[in-house]
Subunit: 135 residues, 2 copies
């Protein structure tokens, strides 16, 4: 399941997508409109900025805005960033790989199955962008 943090991130990003190219948006405005705890949202937006998804302007008239075209920001990227691995097992994760304890990957049926699940999931998450989230 996506964490609350991830859901907040998507709500904020959706809001910023709707305001793309319309100047910086205040954290407090996003928090109010999307009903997200203000300080928690600050952390999330800062994280997205450090990852290169958002940029910000300080001082009066400042705020956050999308650094790239929302049609170029994949949903998969956001999930990995805020929520962590997409795969159901560490040993089949592309970006967070860890070897399994006590399980030979070459002869593990669960391993093979979870690769299929991962690929099916990625096919969707890699193919959709923030733009697709706005209806």
């Amino acid at each position: 399941m996506l964490s609350a943090k991830s859901q907040y991130a998507f709500k904020a990003l959706t809001y910023l997508t709707e305001h793309y190219k319309k100047g910086p948006v205040l954290i407090s405005e996003i928090a109010r409109k999307k009903k997200i705890p203000l300080k928690f949202l600050e952390n999330i937006l800062l994280e997205l900025k450090k990852a290169g998804i958002l940029d910000s302007k300080k001082g009066k008239g400042g705020g956050y805005y999308l650094k790239q075209d929302p049609a170029k920001i994949k949903v998969a990227t956001i999930v990995r960033l805020i929520n962590g691995p997409i795969a159901m097992l560490p040993c089949v994760s592309l970006y967070f790989y860890e070897r399994c304890k006590n399980c030979d990957e070459k002869s593990c049926g669960l391993h093979d199955l979870m690769i299929d699940v991962r690929d099916a999931t990625l096919e969707i998450l890699e193919g959709r962008t923030l733009k697709d989230l706005v209806v």
Copy 2:
């Protein structure tokens, strides 16, 4: 990600699948062979028994065994039982549905996306059984 508990459950079930129709298997044997903490495994097997997946025999010569044909036990069933929801959002879960806070499901892009992810995942998890986990 699947919890450690879920991974233990699958290891144990795989072992029992390999011993299907060969009489009861000791908890301690499974724990030793699959390197699972004994008491933790006890809880897991008991849970699987209460759910109707396993059955057991008490006393000397006792142990656990699969109640049904491993080719008829879906992976999805086990995941739901031990790990919980398969969907990435409560509002798109078939078995653990909960309404979203502050999100109208009819106009939520994330909602629609996650339904697609859920269906792609289920297509695989509902189609494979314990038998498929044994290579």
